[in-house]
């Protein structure tokens, strides 16, 4: 269950990337455009001469501002479609269309109910908005996400539905928009009654904030961040910015209510000596984490990305960081980690809250037009003078925040192995071993027939056509969802040229390397061909060979007379000790054993026993097995020089362990990038005490497979 939830969240996070990639550009347009078309800005800096309504510069800025905000205003729709596309298994374009339709239908249903209940005036203040011309409840991106997820679920269930003959025209993918319309009509009705309760709860929290001083400011800041993904932050902060909840004050003889109004009235007033912190406490806290904290977090994500992915994610992260820094639009950055690493977002919320509180304590009086980027800081802080605003504290606290964000995020990502951009586990080792039988089969047949044999092997290995629920691929892996995972035969898949097979629930990942996309399309073509009903017909001789292989594999353990058996400590490829590129191992100075070239950075216990010692540098571990064998597991060659970097130990000295327990995790790519091999020998260091130690595996192994026998 936990795996499934995690898997879904991962996919949601990935499906966000399509709309998110657009946000930095939209953010810059909006941020720059709106700052310089803001009447207060123009007035304060006497820009009226060059920026005036109707003038060329104003119009250009206005176009920037409005096109940028067109993206943000319709973010929910983008997410409704983007998530549907990302989550749909097949026929993704139909899911996108259905997402758009469902979103319109849901909001229209809400709109009609709002009208029927007395219109916007009858609803709570700030609880409604206009989306694509439809007056509806303020649900923010959350509205789009529930549409996207629901539509994808409906789509995956119904896209291949067969209807009775009379209605056949409406079957298959055509049925999806139809069913989505009906479902989201109902969802809209439900949301109309349900959502106001959520909104009411939020505005009650506002009252709490007001009555609790500095702590109140902290709560305000934390909640404001926490509500962003649900679109509820407007309901929450607008009353502070625009109504008497944010205080009221007499400025130049006029009563002004609302924090933002107070700030701008003071800005316009000639008699302001110091800006009222009672108002700006609802705003100033944004600056430190938006200009300093989040960009540092982006840097942490960049640093934590896999080496070869850095270039790709660097662009995304840098533009998102720049947007946050300059304009205070943080969604592009926040949405890159909110779903893949919710805990990180929680930490971010707490730190953001603290930022508000610290600004409150230091009497920082910098307001903003709509967010806390460098543009607003310059206009409403620096240019007003430190004596009025204490803006210098923003920079001081901000610099500290940058350090805190960087280390906290980097630590969390690496220690908890969070899947932030560029860390998705879809990369593998270059293939080290050839599957000679497949190579032989390829050379036997003409080039056209070869891929069919591969496809047939894969299909048979996956339990036949009837066992497949979904076939997809990423850069290097075939990703299949099967109906019965028991039917999957790893040996057949490996025969087809795979360097590894990973199972998670009903998901099977078969690792082929970059050529996987060709393998996938060949497989799809093969699945559509009549031969696929009986893969054996294609396989012929090579299949028999495979059967023999399997029998041999199965009979091997039963013929064993070993006293002690060690099980593979990693997923990977067996390397004979003699072939390890280090004479200490290859000349067996440390003892007999076997090595594995890992395909996954996880070292598991090869037997039951006790941890004798974990090296300080965490690259090696000594285990005393329950039967008395002294086992040294040594990750990589010369990795002692890394001083523990890229390794994480999960056990400590003296700890009792069971076969298959995770001992050490390590970052294969990072270690290779440092110039070390990751070949991992398993050495019996008290070899002298046994008469024979023989290898029991070759080629690919999975952790837990028999690997050596000791007599």
């Amino acid at each position: 269950m936990k795996d499934r939830v995690f898997g879904v969240l991962q996919r949601v996070g990935r499906s966000f990337m399509l709309p998110i990639a657009l946000l930095p550009v939209a953010g810059l347009l909006l941020g720059i455009g709106s700052s310089f078309t803001n009447p207060t800005t123009i007035e304060t800096y006497n820009l009226g001469g060059i920026i005036y309504e109707g003038g060329v510069l104003y119009t250009v800025l206005d176009i920037m501002s409005r096109t940028g905000s067109a993206v943000f205003d319709n973010l929910a729709l983008l997410f409704a479609m983007g998530v549907a596309i990302g989550m749909a298994k097949k026929e993704k374009e139909v899911a996108a269309l259905s997402g758009a339709i469902a979103y319109l239908v849901m909001n229209t249903a809400i709109s009609v109910l709002i009208m029927a209940n007395g219109g916007v005036e009858a609803m709570a203040a700030n609880s409604t908005t206009s989306v694509l011309g439809i007056t509806t409840l303020q649900m923010g991106v959350f509205g789009g996400i529930i549409v996207g997820l629901g539509v994808a679920a409906l789509h995956n269930k119904f896209y291949n539905i067969e209807l009775p003959q009379v209605l056949a025209f409406f079957g298959g993918t055509r049925f999806v928009p139809i069913v989505c319309t009906v479902v989201y009509l109902i969802v809209g009705i439900i949301m109309f009654f349900l959502w106001p309760f959520v909104q009411l709860g939020i505005s009650k929290l506002g009252t709490l904030v007001l009555n609790s001083g500095y702590a109140g400011t902290w709560i305000y800041g934390t909640l404001e961040r926490a509500l962003i993904p649900f679109g509820l932050h407007h309901v929450f902060y607008m009353p502070f910015w625009q109504t008497e909840l944010g205080g009221s004050m007499i400025i130049d003889g006029n009563v002004v209510t609302g924090a933002q109004n107070i700030f701008f009235a003071e800005l316009a007033s000639k008699s302001t000596d110091v800006f009222s912190v009672s108002a700006t406490r609802f705003m100033s806290g944004k600056f430190p984490f938006m200009i300093f904290g989040l960009p540092a977090a982006a840097f942490a994500m960049y640093r934590a990305a896999r080496h070869e992915k850095k270039k790709v994610v660097g662009g995304l992260l840098m533009s998102a960081a720049l947007t946050s820094m300059l304009t205070g639009i943080t969604e592009p950055l926040e949405f890159t980690f909110i779903f893949v690493a919710p805990l990180m977002y929680a930490v971010h919320c707490v730190l953001a809250g603290l930022s508000y509180m610290i600004m409150h304590i230091f009497n920082v009086g910098v307001g903003m037009t709509f967010s806390g980027g460098a543009i607003d800081l310059t206009l409403f802080g620096i240019l007003q003078g430190n004596h009025k605003t204490n803006w210098i504290w923003i920079v001081i606290v901000g610099l500290i925040y940058a350090v805190v964000y960087y280390f906290v995020f980097y630590f969390m990502i690496t220690k908890m192995n969070l899947g932030t951009p560029g860390r998705e586990a879809d990369d593998i080792e270059p293939k080290l071993y050839r599957r000679s039988d497949v190579e032989a089969a390829k050379s036997d047949k003409s080039s056209g027939g070869a891929s069919d044999i591969v496809s047939a092997l894969i299909l048979k290995g996956l339990g036949g056509k009837g066992n497949l629920s979904d076939v997809d691929c990423c850069a290097t892996r075939l990703r299949i969802t099967v109906i019965d995972v028991e039917k999957v035969a790893d040996s057949l898949l490996k025969q087809s040229g795979a360097s590894g097979v990973i199972r998670k629930g009903n998901g099977v990942q078969v690792i082929y390397g970059p050529r996987v996309s060709v393998i996938k399309s060949n497989l799809e073509t093969f699945i559509d061909s009549p031969q696929s009903d009986d893969p054996d017909s294609v396989l012929g001789d090579s299949e028999k060979h495979t059967e023999e292989d399997r029998k041999r594999e199965q009979s091997a353990p039963s013929s064993s007379t070993a006293n002690i058996v060690m099980y593979s400590h990693l997923n990977g490829i067996v390397v004979m000790l003699e072939d390890v590129e280090d004479e200490v191992f290859s000349q067996k100075i440390l003892g007999e054993g076997i090595a594995v070239e890992p395909t996954e950075g996880k070292l598991y216990a090869p037997c039951d026993g006790r941890v004798d010692s974990v090296f300080d540098t965490k690259h090696a571990i000594n285990i005393l097995s329950a039967e008395g064998a002294e086992v040294l597991l040594h990750i990589g060659i010369d990795t002692v020089k890394l001083g523990g970097k890229h390794f994480e130990a999960h056990v400590s000295d003296g700890q009792e362990i069971k076969k298959g327990d995770l001992l050490i995790s390590f970052d294969i790519e990072a270690i290779k990038a440092e110039g070390c091999k990751v070949t991992t020998p398993l050495i019996i260091s008290n070899t002298d005490e046994y008469s024979s130690i023989t290898s029991a595996a070759q080629g690919k192994v999975l952790a837990g497979d028999e690997i050596i026998k000791i007599n």
């Binding site: 280090d582 200490v584 100075i589 440390l590 003892g591 004798d612 010692s613 090296f615 300080d616 540098t617 090696a620 000594n622 005393l624 002294e630 040294l632 040594h634 002692v640 020089k641 001083g643 260091s685 008290n686």
Partner: protein
Amino acid sequence: MKTFSYTVKDEVGIHARPAGLLAKKAKEFQSTITLEKDGKSAAATKLMAIMGMGVKCGDTVNITVEGADEDTAAAAMEEFFKTNL
């Protein structure tokens, strides 16, 4: 019985490689060779025990050699430490 002590200069201490070489060397002699550091001791032929001592750079190890060929063994071991650690 012969004893000597040695302060490890190799910056990564007695990790797998030197421990392996050390044990191999120690096995060449009849004498019992024992390593001791901070109250922990290990037979020089027992690889896992040596590694378990966790000897780091700057640590001082006391070596005891006892047996028929203790003179040769002690000299050889001292030579080994100097060249390898």
